[in-house]
Amino acid sequence: MENGERDPRAGLFIIAHSPFPVSAVEAMSEPLIRVEGIAKRFPGRDGAATTVFEDVHFSIEPGEFVCLIGHSGCGKTTILNILAGLEPASDGYVFIGGREIRGPSLDRAVIFQSHALMPWLTVTGNIGFAVTSRWPEWDRARVRSHCQKYVELVNLAGAEMKRPAELSGGMKQRVGIARALAIQPKMLLMDEPFSALDALTRGMLQEEVLRILAETRQTAFMITHDVDEAILLADKIVLMTNGPRARIAEIVVNPLPRSRTRYTIHKEPHYYAVRNHLVDFLVSRSRQLNEALPPGYDPKHPPLVTPGLSEAGGSVAQAAPRPPAGSRPIAVAASH
């Protein structure tokens, strides 16, 4: 275990800042994020455009954790950048709370793969930079105490005055997480946030992200190529076919209860069904589906799959009306 990493369950913090009070969530029929037919094309050498992905439709409900899985080249990062507003889509629209996304916003915090901390600022300085961007009218003391709350949330107390160069990779990513959460965004966007970390640190941070998101009831969208990470963290796993001209092949609904943890997940009854389904997809089906999508495929309603709940291979059904957002089980930190 590297220095400075603590037991993720050491501290419990309840942060009462859910951007969506429960009553508001229940009143809302609109998903938080609605992605409608986005595509990305690059002009090719011979004038014909290369399509990375197209006809991508999906939505994210408030409080939901959605993972996007696919091979390199299917435009995962581009989709995240479009959601973040950092890159325009060549086609289609993305709506947040019914309003079209036209650029980056404090509503959507991004956790970058490379942590993207500013090396000339301390831990508190990095978080504080985000906090003063969100609330420019706050005075120093208020910014400081707000930063402190998030430093403690990610278990970095004691390292406030350190610069990124003095932190381990895992600690740097914790600062990135704290910086993203500190602005109390409507949703978190994570671009393979743990892929640069060693396995031990990664596991610990995954566990912590699970705890923090449960506490803050944060909506999250994450890109990963790690099947286990997706099963542990996600409520819904969006599977992309291979690129070019990648599409959403299907959306897997995670049948495991939200109280799953890193230590007990492999004992859950449907764990292997989900895992095999995902591995199977990445190994062979992502390529086959890129060549030919199944008859009856509707890009606007990619098939919803729940492996393990029906016969082998999972049940394939057209997207049914979404379950009411408020009815999803929400794990609390105490259940760990």
Binding site: A84, G85, L86, G103, P104, S105, L106, R108, A109, V110, F112, S114, A116, M118, P119, W120, L121, F129, A130, S133, R134, R163, A165, I183
Partner: protein, 280 residues
């Protein structure tokens, strides 16, 4: 072992210095007996020098005595052609700082603009490429003609020669700010001014400071030449004046002073650079 590591280099430096002084001393030793030389040459350079009784080149002891004299009284002022070396250095430093700071005020903002916009970069590039290699002294006649003041012209020459390293390094540093930091600023909806001051400036500061360090070195090189041309005051003028006086000891003192001040300026900028450099 540790003692050798620590004291080895300074000790070797002292040995090199002593060897140099010894060679110098041996080369300028007074030789006995008169040499027969051409009469016309004797008239030209003075009998003492021509007969070879004593070389016009001073011995280390003489130079040492002269340096000591200058150190005892660095700030005397006995008219326009006879001022203490401290006053002359003061004039030069003042001119260098004036031209240098002026250049920083112009070069850093322009460099920022050029670095932020590839369009402006391409538009400015041909001008920079043409003007950069021009010797700063070539500007001197133009400066004298337009500014009509020799002292201001010297400052202008310093201004123009300190400009390019700062401009180019600022543009490069600003253009090379990592995309991820800019993306962080974008997702936090940071305004353009705040982004420039809180993200781009600290990120580019080490590169900008490196440019400023190169500039101060060039400025100090150029001031000596510029003052030799414009005359009046300054360490460059001092050296030229002592050449007219044929006082090699004073010239050597001037050279040493120029070297020492140059070193101090460079070290100052190096320290400032270290202050803004961040470990990755």
């Amino acid at each position: 072992m540790k003692g050798i590591q620590f004291w080895g280099a300074p000790l070797l430096s002292v040995v090199i210095l002593l060897a140099f002084l010894a060679l110098w001393h041996a080369g300028t030793r007074q030789e006995a007996g008169g040499e027969v030389v051409d009469a016309e040459y004797a008239k030209l350079v003075g009998t003492a020098a021509a007969t070879g009784q004593k070389s016009a080149f001073p011995s280390p002891a003489e130079v040492g005595a002269r340096i000591w004299q200058h150190l005892k009284e660095p700030f005397y002022d006995k008219g326009p052609n006879d001022k203490g070396i401290g006053i002359q250095l003061g004039y030069s430093i003042a001119r260098v700082l004036a031209g240098y700071l002026l250049a920083a005020l112009v070069a850093i903002p322009i460099g920022f603009l050029i670095g932020m916009s590839p369009l402006i970069y391409r538009a400015f590039d041909p001008f920079i490429q043409v003007l950069k290699p021009v010797s700063p002294l070539a500007w001197m006649p133009l400066a004298l003609f337009t500014l009509k003041d020799s002292s201001v012209s010297a400052v202008f020459v310093i201004f123009i020669c300190s400009m390019w390293p700062m401009l180019i390094n600022t543009a490069y540093g600003v253009g090379a700010v990592r995309r991820e930091w800019l993306n962080v600023a974008r997702t936090l909806e940071v305004g353009p001014l705040r982004k420039a001051l809180r993200v781009i400036l600290p990120a580019a500061a080490p590169t900008i400071m490196t440019g400023m360090r190169i500039s101060i070195g060039i400025a100090w090189l150029v001031i000596v030449a510029a003052e030799m041309l414009v005359g009046g005051t300054g360490i460059g003028y001092f050296v030229w004046n002592e050449w007219n006086n044929l006082s090699i000891a004073n010239i050597l003192t001037g050279i040493l002073a120029i070297g020492l001040v140059g070193m101090v300026l460079d070290q100052l900028l190096a320290r400032l650079t270290r202050l803004v450099t961040f470990p990755e």
